[in-house]
Symmetry: C2
């Protein structure tokens, strides 16, 4: 296996995961690779979890602070949460076990814009970084690291950490080499423009340079990335995809977009994937993506010749499509580039691209404030991820969601958002299976009827009634009835349905 | 006077404001210069207001949609609001008469990130721009416009509008010529990096090129800019300034800042001005400002040799300091540069600079969500302005505010923000006269005690009691008691005090 470790110096550090885990101490701050179920270390997390369990069984303390690119997988975030091995976690997670610990109050979590996460580590906001644990595809003779299926914050973590542990995963195709474009924005006060003018511009190297003296351990693995398969498209997803296309067609009619060269950004999930399937049969050609992750739908668009260029920081492919990528990486490499998260999500480059952003949400209020993170204002789901990076700097920012969830117990349109991640200043278009609400150029009171029109029919009378009552307030810029503003959420907490009659 | 109009072609269009106002029709969308009380047109607004009054007295409709750089002054926003001459207004205002109309529901207002405002006009979100009305210092022989005391969105408005009306204001010093640096980001899909690496880099021309065929009228004026004088510093402002300096000193101790070359951004107002006065006696040298407006305190810092470079889009000087600027513009020009708003507030350049942002607020909640715009969630004060542009992209983002307002009827720290303009993902440090709450690296529950510690002592027990009750919620990531979350604001509406006992 170790032909993937060309550097003799580094090869001499090969050991078991259990041995390597001895370099990770209680209280350490650890930066790991991993972005969605791709490119996370496959062996160390379990080894660290076992250390934690052993320590706890003796009554000793053992917990680390864990920083990653974004979410990981059950055999990383899941096992570590289950072992109570994490004190503090940033910038994103989506693991059910971990979410449970966070909402129970036994684990600390900070939900940070992804474009800020590596930057703030560099800037020293998280103190010393003790260890970086990074999965790679191979190690070159010079000791350079060839990224596997994602880049995330690896550059920042490898540079900031005192110790480096490398996992070399032979499951990852060697043909991934060349996919990554590693460019380092100079540190303050010498930052300079990021010279990307087109989605696929390559401005760096295909590998990450490290200080090989910091490498304390290398672990060999042969384990697949683990993303969930996408669900088959249901009727609601198809309707949302249709409404998204209607919105795009409207932009074309208004002269703000052409059928040639639309640049997309898309959040992760089943509905965004359905939107991409919708594009397959559309008039749009030469589609490009400047986005965070490569999803199944993007590979379909590339295969169909509809998408010509894509930039992301990681894959988020279903098991089937991950296998396909491993087989055809040398072909996909021609149209795909993987960048450090600080660049895939850079406000600078995003604004330059003039892309159309499309992200999921939990709820939006009648004035266009969007909650992406908290159910009923208190309970974290995943996190803001990169949605703020793209929303804030896109040409047009859209949010897409089914109009109801949990049967119809939860409405995606509410009187007053119970948490706000994207403000009324940022959300431009809100899309459900009932249509799209275009909020651009509208004062708050003009937005409310548009938002109510895309709510589920069961909730429209309740929202209209609220808006009527709100307008009895003597302040009419953003009218609210503060006594009833959170009534949908109080109903949900108390009766199990926002309707209050469950 | 007309030696300020070197172009013969344009000189032939000189007329009275009343005549020029005939080019502004009912229903027109009008882009005006003006950013704070500087550089707004001095004659046309009154002439347009008079047209509106005349039409209304005959039972005719007359209202325009007004776009500017930011707020203007009583003889612009004030007279137009008073005459009911405005249907829709963006992106910012701070006029009492106008605010009254907006909150009464008789005028539509959209509160937009300033860095988005010109961009979205270019992108066609506001339809056709009928007229641009722009104050200038002088017009060159070639018909180029030399900006007066601000640039704002003038470049975008002059380019987009079908008709151009120019006001040439001889009150403005001719020595302002050379202060402006006019650079045009190419339109999509050809946007390129903005090549500014240092605060004072000059990358453009000192004048705005226009299509002189679009000029329909030129009006000569001799009227001062009208910013309010700053208030004398009170004890609270001095304490806030002291706490801001403590925070800066903490950054120096942590190795994240040096005494040489700190780059500031500062919101507009009395408290920020007090902070600048505090810097006069500090150890910080070679201070730079990459900010939105030039305030009195910055001129004092320049005079004292403490500030070496400053970039903004406009002046916001008291009458006394505006006179001083007019006398000494040729000296100040060496260290000051005025840029188009799209560049002064560019996320790209702001993030590159690594500046420390400091903006005012109305309230922040115990988890660090900040409301900059709405009293009790419904009543607009001014608007978000550029605070989001800077907060979202700064090295460190801070918010400064006295802990109470209206005597002690309003607390700046509340259980649940009644409107959110800056999310928990963005606000890093909150400063009042009682200290600074550094929220970096903290989970929501860890932030609450820090936030409560900077609240007014009268409100601390109420906030602690709320936080206790909130923690009885079974969801502990961001605990809330939804029934009581807005209690401070309901109290304010119903009793006149957030304490509920007024």
């Amino acid at each position: 296996m170790s032909e993937r470790i060309a550097s003799a110096e580094i090869r001499s550090k090969v050991m078991s995961a259990e041995e390597a885990a001895q370099f990770v101490n209680n209280g350490d701050t650890v930066g790991m690779s991993g972005f969605t179920g791709a490119a996370y270390p496959k062996a160390l997390p379990t080894a660290i979890a076992n250390r934690a369990k052993e320590a706890h069984s003796k009554g000793d303390e053992y917990a680390i602070n864990l920083l990653t690119g974004a979410s990981t997988a059950p055999d990383c975030d899941g096992v570590l949460a289950e072992a109570d091995a994490i004190n503090y976690r940033m910038p994103y997670q989506s693991d059910p076990e971990m979410r449970g610990k966070i909402n129970a109050g036994s684990m600390k979590y900070q939900d940070i814009h992804l474009s800020h996460s590596g930057l703030q580590v560099e800037q020293g906001f998280f103190g010393e970084l003790d260890v970086a644990i990074v999965e790679v595809c191979r190690i070159t003779e010079e000791g350079h690291l060839v990224p596997s299926s994602g880049v995330g914050n690896n550059v920042e973590y490898l540079e900031s950490a005192h110790k480096i542990i490398i996992e070399v995963n032979s499951w990852q195709s060697l043909e991934l080499e060349g996919m990554a474009d590693i460019y380092r924005v100079p540190h303050l006060p010498n930052r300079t423009p990021i010279p990307i003018n087109n989605v696929n511009d390559r401005i760096g190297e295909t590998f990450i340079r490290i200080d090989t003296n910091k490498v304390v351990a290398v672990v060999e693995t042969d384990s697949p990335d683990r993303n969930s398969p996408f669900k088959p498209f249901d009727e609601t997803s198809k309707q949302i995809a249709g409404n998204f296309l209607d919105f795009l067609e409207g932009e074309v009619r208004a002269g703000r977009l052409t059928y040639d060269g639309y640049i997309m950004q898309s959040g992760v999930g089943n509905v965004p994937n359905a939107v991409m399937a919708g594009l397959l049969d559309s008039k749009f050609e030469n589609i490009k993506a400047y986005t965070e992750v490569v999803q199944d739908g993007m590979l379909d668009l590339i295969d169909a010749g509809k998408m010509t260029q894509a930039s992301a920081t990681s894959f988020a492919l279903s098991p089937e499509y991950a296998e396909k990528m491993n087989r055809e990486a040398s072909t996909y490499r021609k149209s795909l580039v993987l960048r450090p998260l600080q660049i895939s999500n850079s406000p600078e480059v995003i604004r330059r691209m003039g892309l159309i952003a499309s992200n999921g949400m939990i709820e939006a209020d009648i004035y266009g404030n969007v909650n992406s993170t908290h159910v009923a204002g208190t309970r974290i789901m995943n996190g803001i991820g990169g949605s703020g990076d793209f929303t804030r700097n896109a040409f047009v920012s859209s949010f897409i969601s089914p109009s109801v969830a949990k049967g119809d117990a939860i409405s995606a349109i509410v009187p007053f958002a119970s948490h706000i991640d994207h403000t009324e200043h940022d959300a431009m278009v809100v899309i459900t299976e009932y249509g799209y609400a275009d909020l651009r150029g509208l004062s708050p009171r003009e937005r409310a009827p548009k938002m109510i029109s895309v709510a589920h029919p069961d909730y429209r009378p309740l929202l209209e009634e609220y808006f009527e009552r709100a307008q009895q307030n003597k302040h009419q810029h953003t009218p609210h009835n503060l006594r009833d503003a959170l009534s949908f959420h109080i109903n949900l907490d108390e009766t199990g349905s926002m309707k209050g009659n469950a």
